[in-house]
Each structure stands twice: as structure tokens, then as C-alpha cells.
Subunit: 142 residues, 4 copies
């Protein structure tokens, strides 16, 4: 049975909880399955740009964590993960009541993995894609 | 004579000042010349990831603003700018006393411009490149 | 009834047929539905790199066309499309008997669209993802 | 004294000469210094798209080789290089008499390196930037 006590979930959640940036953004992680995570966070006026949209970089902060934790959830036990690079496309303004990023591993390798994430905004219950990321992630063996 | 009162500088600075995210990161903008800007900001523990490095997304927030304001500084007067997409490469851990992003326009077009930015960390006076961005920016005519 | 004579298919196919690069790669296009296309092409030894893999740039040539024609298939009638930028991740060596790129529009806009494509190799009937692209495409009104 | 017989030049040139794709594009490599190369190639009508511009993917083929050989020229002797991913921005139409790509390493690492390349077209002696690439390259130890 799938439980929140499984080792890969505990490990991923623990690393997430050690990220001050995720606390600053009031972000919460759910590990859905090996290689797949969701991060939710609210609209926060202090992280907007000049048009009251959430700053693209702040959205990228969540997308990067979504890709990284998707990768960490299936990384070898003796490895930590590090983002090598990412690319973000902005599809719609970053407005809404809440946001959810869904991250998943596209290809897991011994050294290099690729993960994708899509960020959705939710306004009055209606959900729309706001941004996408493709990230290259490296396993760093301890 | 180059002065801080030139219209393109005033306009760029004014938009920057309206970005709450830049205030949250204690960031300061200097418009160096048409198409070229610098943004400085300090290390802030609340925006780090699990290894005490500044979160890659937070660095991207500054890099995105550096690219966007470089583009805005030479955009037509009746245009605002919007980031279409960007790509970030992480070269070194985001640690240091202070950081500086240098953004410049690579190619200005009527609709689409391309800008580059490099982020440097400074530790005890020694400067090192930490991350680079290439961004595609759209002029949105009002 | 869906037929190959529908206007959007005819228009997309016609533009594809005018691309000498697609002929040079022995590539064939099938427009699957509005915003979705497939391009198939064979392994060609003359377009490999030093390890006998198809060159990443050659794979990108097909991926770019897959994204561009997905976008063209739903572009306004008075618009042509132009690639603004793309990003490619290489997942596996470009080897196999034949290749197929599946391109689809992620978000269609009046000026800017975003499309994704995945390239699969097929060896003895077994299919594997080899590379992915995300592309930003501009509608250029005539 | 700098000569064409230096080991890093011989090694880089030798690998380039083993790329059939570079022969197909009539491309020629010059290793300028450790971490820096140039590749020249002519306009070839058979590799164009529907507007008689060189296909963006074909330009990317040269840019990818420029980044890869810049990286190989300073890679450890027991390592080969493999492109992990790249991003291309298209600045101007790919037209001209001849093209030159200048590739250089931005940051060399033990496992991962980052390289940049810019492609210039030359028409009647006038040179203009046509496209830029940032590539992530992996050292693969034999």
C-alpha cells in the first residue's frame, strides 16, 4: 500500500522542508509517486512585478523545486540533486488565487536527468497553465 | 552629458521601483547605458535552498529583471515589455556576500528582443560568475 | 469527416513540401489534427557525428519543423510562422532504423505560440524517446 | 609558439573530421585557442526552409559542433564530450554568402561544461549575427 511513510517520500519531503525559499513562498509539497510531485503556493503581493503578476522568477523558483524534487524522489540513495540549467516559457500572466506546479521526470540517468514541470493558476476554481519548465538535473554522489 | 535624469533612465528606474519582488530581494538597479543595466542584491538566508545556496529561482528572478530592464531601457516609448521565455545555466553555487547581475540587449526588434544577463557573486571582494540567462522579450504596445 | 483535403492540412503540407531541408532528410509530414503533426525520417549516415549517432542539430532540424508546422496548422490564414527560439534536450543517442517527431501546440497566441515536440527512434519495432524540444514561434502577418 | 600541431588542436580537428554531418554541410573548423573554435560553411540551397533561409536546425547543427569542439579542445585527455542540451535564439534570417560560428567555453567543469556560440552571416563582406546558442556539455570518461 502506498503510504506517506515510504522512504522516497520521507526523503524528498525532508529535503523540501529544509529549503527556506519554499517557506518564504508558503509552498507545500506532495510527492505523488516516484518521479512525480506537486507544489502548491498562494498568490503573494510582495513577490509580484510591475503589473501585479507574480514575478516570472518566483514562478521559476517553484518550477525548479518541482523538477528537482521529482528527480530527487527517484535518485539513488547516495545521491543529492543539483539543477544544471532550466528553460521557462511563460504562457499567461501569473495571477490567480493559488498556484500548483506539477513536476515529473522525463528521463532518469545515472548522472543526468531531465524533468518537466507545468505551473497552473487557479481562480475561482478555474485552472489554467501559466508557465512550463524543462530542467536538466545532475545527481551528485556524496 | 550622461545624467540620471535622462528619460530612458527615469522610465526604467520607475518601472523597477514598482516591482514588489525587487524590494523583497533588497535589489537595486543602475541603468548603465541604453540597453544595459546592473542589479545588485545581498545574500538572504530566507531565499536559500537546502544547501544554503541562494535558490536558483531567486537568482533567476534578478536575472529576468536584468534582461527585462535592459530591454525596457531601449523599448519604444509606447511599449511595455513582457518576458516570453528564458533559459538559465547555473555555473557555481549561489553563495557570497553580495550579487550583481549585468543585463544587456543582444538584439532589439520591433516585436521581439533578445537579452543576456550574467550574475556574479562577490565574496571578500572576489567576483565569480554564478549563472547566465538568455531571455526573449516582447514589446507590448499600449 | 476528417479528410486530407481539409484546408489546414493542405496549407501545412504545402509549406512543408517547399522546405528543401525536409527533402534532404527524406522527411515526411502527416498533419494529425489542428495543432498536431508527425514527421518521420530515416537514419542517414551522412548526417551523423563522430560516434555514428545522427547529429543533434539534424534531429533539431526535424524537431523545429515539427513545432513550426504544428503551429502553422492552427495559425490565422493571413499569417506565416517563424521560429523565435528553441531548446533541445538529448535523452538518448540518435540511433535507430527510423525516427518520428511528434509536435503539438502547447499554447497558441495571436503573436506568440509555444509548441513541444518529442523525437522517437525505432529499432526493430521498439520505440524510444531520443530528444525533446520546446519552441517559441511567432505569427508573422503578411 | 602556437602551431597547428599542438595536441589539443590535432585532437579536436581529428574528431571534427570524423563527423559526416560537417562534411555534408561543407563545414571547416579552425581551433583558435584552448576553449575557442570557429566553423565556417557556405549557404546551401538544399538545406533551406520555405523562405530560402538556411533551416534553423541546420544552423543549430553548426552551432552545436562549435560549442562541442570548444569544449573538447580543453576536455581531459581521457574524456569525450556529449551535448546534454542546447538553446538557440534566432536573431535574423539565415541568408548570406557564407556563415561563421564562433564557439567558446564559458565554464569548464569536471563533468559538466557550458559553452556559447554565435553564428554570423556574411553578405558582400558585411557580417551580422544570425543566431546564438548556449549548450550544456558533458565529459564522458572512456
Amino acid at each position: 500500500m502506498h503510504t506517506e511513510n515510504e522512504a522516497y517520500i520521507v526523503r524528498t519531503q525532508r529535503s523540501f522542508n529544509r529549503q527556506p525559499a519554499m517557506h518564504a513562498l508558503n509552498a507545500e509539497l506532495v510527492v505523488k509517486s516516484p518521479g512525480s510531485v506537486e507544489i502548491t503556493f498562494p498568490y503573494m503581493a510582495q513577490f509580484t512585478q510591475q503589473n501585479d503578476y507574480m514575478h516570472a522568477g518566483i514562478l521559476s523558483t517553484i518550477l525548479d523545486s518541482a523538477c528537482g524534487y521529482a528527480a530527487l524522489s527517484i535518485a539513488p540513495e547516495d545521491a543529492d540533486v543539483l539543477t544544471v540549467e532550466f528553460k521557462v516559457n511563460l504562457l499567461r500572466p501569473g495571477v490567480g488565487d493559488t498556484f500548483k506546479a506539477i513536476g515529473q521526470v522525463v528521463k532518469a540517468g545515472k548522472t543526468i536527468s531531465v524533468a518537466d514541470a507545468t505551473l497552473y493558476s487557479s481562480t475561482l476554481g478555474e485552472s489554467k497553465p501559466v508557465a512550463t519548465m524543462t530542467a536538466t538535473i545532475m545527481n551528485v554522489y556524496k
